[in-house]
């Protein structure tokens, strides 16, 4: 078995997500069929019972995310997977998970929108929605892979971050990465760091469900373990009881955000190439980063000082790193299969340090390396 893994195997991005989630300990999946994410549900329905886990096909995406939140409260690491329209339906309960601090992972394999759009065509149009899709100021973590192996690794990371920070984590693929097939060599199970939620260290009598623990995250008691408590999407005090006090609400919302913003070094993952002397930097994520890598390599072959910066954690936004890059660069090029959603954030952070230029396509096809390369030539 391990020999087969060492030799590698041909695997699809969506399959890698399912395998990564299982390796990270996911034992519950609820979902609803939707292109181009359905393979994840199909694989989970096959594999979960083999390891004693549970799969359920719910009546819609609203119910799917509700069910994984319920299962997580009962102690199981939980996952759902969807795409554009389904992700829109999940926003309501995504906010609940953020507010009530319930660990869960939502995979969104982006397709062309808005609305039903082009169901089988790739896009990166949900970047802002993944950050701000549910109402109210809420914390969230969003990771985005560019390859099949990265889809596997980030699936593991998503589950770990969800459990460690008691936050919904969105694993944001695009259709290209979701359906891409590559040869991958997966790590053996014992090489994978699997994190579990921190349980209470106090006896039930003195358990206060929403007091900060390590890294600002409250220890979590699962339903049925003897720690009777109340969980609500209403603003609540440390006991979990609904509370309308302005002081309590203010403290709560700040604490929810601080547990993320105080631990950025833990949460932000990125990758870069040729940044040391780069004057023109392509900042790209998802499948677009694959084209960007080709364009940057070609530029280097032509003697141009081009570099690549690849945020794998899209949200929280890697402000410090982008600012650092901006101070040395002349131009940052941000190619995206949307109208410039992430570029807006880059512009906000870099200010007047350097020029920012987008390469944007919303026609349902991926951005070709040549299109990015041409833009590099334009700005030289």
């Amino acid at each position: 078995m391990s020999n087969v893994l060492e030799m590698g195997r041909l695997m699809q991005g969506n399959e890698a997500v399912a395998e990564g989630a299982l390796a990270a300990g996911v034992r519950f999946f609820a979902g609803y069929p939707i292109t181009p994410s359905t393979e994840i549900a199909e694989i989970m329905s096959n594999k979960l019972p083999q390891v004693g886990g549970k799969f359920i096909q719910m009546e819609d995406e609203i119910a799917s995310i509700a069910a994984i939140i319920g299962a997580s409260l009962a102690g199981l690491k939980s996952l759902t997977a969807t795409s554009g329209p389904g992700f829109s339906l999940m926003q309501e309960n995504l906010g609940f998970a953020a507010m009530a601090e319930v660990p869960c992972v939502i995979v969104n394999v982006q397709r062309s929108g808005p609305s039903t759009g082009m169901p089988t065509a790739p896009a990166q149009g949900d970047v802002m929605q993944s950050r701000w899709g549910t109402h109210g100021d809420h914390p969230v973590i969003v990771l985005s892979p560019s390859s099949v192996r990265e889809a596997y690794d980030l699936a593991v990371k998503s589950v770990n971050l969800a459990e460690e920070y008691r936050v919904p984590v969105i694993l944001l693929l695009d259709e290209v990465v979701g359906h891409l097939r590559e040869k991958v060599v997966l790590p053996a199970q014992e090489q994978i760091d699997v994190l579990n939620r921190q349980g209470p260290e106090t006896p039930p009598e003195s358990f206060i469900p929403y007091t900060s623990g390590a890294k600002g995250v409250p220890p979590m008691a699962n339903f049925g373990d003897g720690y009777r408590h109340h969980v609500t999407g209403l603003a609540h005090d440390e006991t979990g009881a609904p509370n309308n006090s302005p002081v309590v609400a203010e403290e709560l919302i700040h604490r929810l955000h601080n547990k993320i913003s105080d631990n950025l070094a833990d949460i932000i993952i990125d990758d870069s190439r040729f940044l040391d002397d780069a004057e023109i930097i392509v900042l790209a994520y998802g499948s677009t980063a694959r084209s960007a890598r080709h364009a940057v390599k070609e530029a280097r072959r032509q003697g141009l000082k081009a570099g690549l910066y690849r945020p794998l954690t899209l949200w929280p936004f890697p402000e410090q790193k982008v600012l650092e890059i901006a101070k040395k660069a002349k131009t940052i090029i941000v190619p995206e299969m949307n109208m410039g959603q992430y570029r807006l954030e880059v512009e906000r952070v870099v200010g007047k340090h350097c020029q920012v230029k987008g390469v944007n396509r919303v026609h349902g096809e991926l951005i070709k390396p040549g299109e990015i390369y041409d833009t590099i030539l334009e700005v030289v």
Binding site: Q50, N93, R228, G233
Partner: protein, 283 residues
């Protein structure tokens, strides 16, 4: 050995938020009596609510309690029950929560016959938002969003639950509290999806707009208009017009979802020749 019902309440969360004359407290008492007589373990019992006046009851109850989003209580409860089938899972919901925004989740939870007990407080109105009509508001009633009277027919939610696949359905009222308690007990004991509809008065948002006086008068209305299922069987549809049929409306043995899933896991594991699913005998 029964206990004081106070021991099931989070007394520090009182006074409750319900209006004078509201029927919710009576329904809640019936629930606690049922739990008490069944001696359910508080630590092993989860009570899930949606959004609305009745759903807020979960905050007062000393169990594992979950106050969810509007209409979604059953979907959350499905996740809890499937993750840990050994827990008792009870859902408290209202007529708007369960039958309008939560209607889809309601019929599918019933169809799966998953072992949840749904206690539906039917006060025929959206009370918390101030009196808008719900799918269980009787036709021709007045509501803040039906100032000229509702022109929509209402659901018979118990009938809907039965046809969707629920294995236990009962209806009681806040007048017939002994009956209501008994129905809730039977619903909890039933291994499958159980609906207990509790007809409860909302004098504030429904009664005063519909020529009903106070809460006590509305309870007397329940007494006068309730017909037991056995008597109803002898009556014509015309005679039953405007009446509330109460009692055990439906009971049927049917495979329960989480038990079926456990069987599926056992079957899959056996086929895979993997982990032993039956305990090994001897050493």
């Amino acid at each position: 050995m029964t206990r004081e019902l106070d021991s099931y309440l989070r007394m520090d969360k009182f006074p409750h938020m319900w209006c004078p004359g509201c029927g919710n407290g009576i329904v809640l008492r019936s629930l606690l009596q049922a739990i008490n007589e069944l001696e359910l373990d508080q630590d092993r019992t989860v009570i899930v609510g949606g959004i609305g006046c009745s759903s807020r009851a979960v905050g007062y109850l000393d169990f594992n309690t979950l106050h969810t989003t509007h209409g979604r209580a059953l979907a959350y409860a499905t996740g809890i029950k499937l993750a840990r089938p050994e827990l008792n899972v009870i859902v408290i919901t209202g007529d708007g929560d369960a039958t309008a925004i939560g209607g889809n989740h309601f019929i599918h939870a019933a169809r799966r016959n998953i072992d949840l007990t749904v206690l539906l407080f039917n006060n025929n109105i959206y009370g918390m938002t101030g009196g808008q009509y719900s799918p269980l508001t009787p036709a021709n009633s007045k509501a803040t969003t039906a100032p000229y009277g509702t022109i929509e027919p209402s659901f018979d939610i118990s009938e809907l639950a039965r046809s969707a696949g629920a294995s236990y359905v009962g209806r009681g009222t806040t007048y017939h509290t002994g009956l209501l308690k008994g129905l809730i007990k039977s619903g909890i004991e039933n291994k499958g999806f159980s609906l207990v509809e509790a007809v409860a008065a909302c004098p504030t948002a429904f009664g005063r707009r519909n020529k009903m006086k106070g809460g006590a008068d509305m309870i007397m209305w329940q007494k006068e208009n309730a017909v037991n299922i056995k008597k109803a069987a002898q009556m014509s549809p015309e005679e039953l017009e405007g009446k509330i049929v109460v009692g055990e409306l439906h009971k049927q043995e049917a495979p329960e979802y989480t038990a079926m899933y456990d069987n599926l896991i056992a079957r899959v594991m056996q086929q895979a020749g993997g982990g032993s699913v039956t305990p090994l005998k001897g050493n």
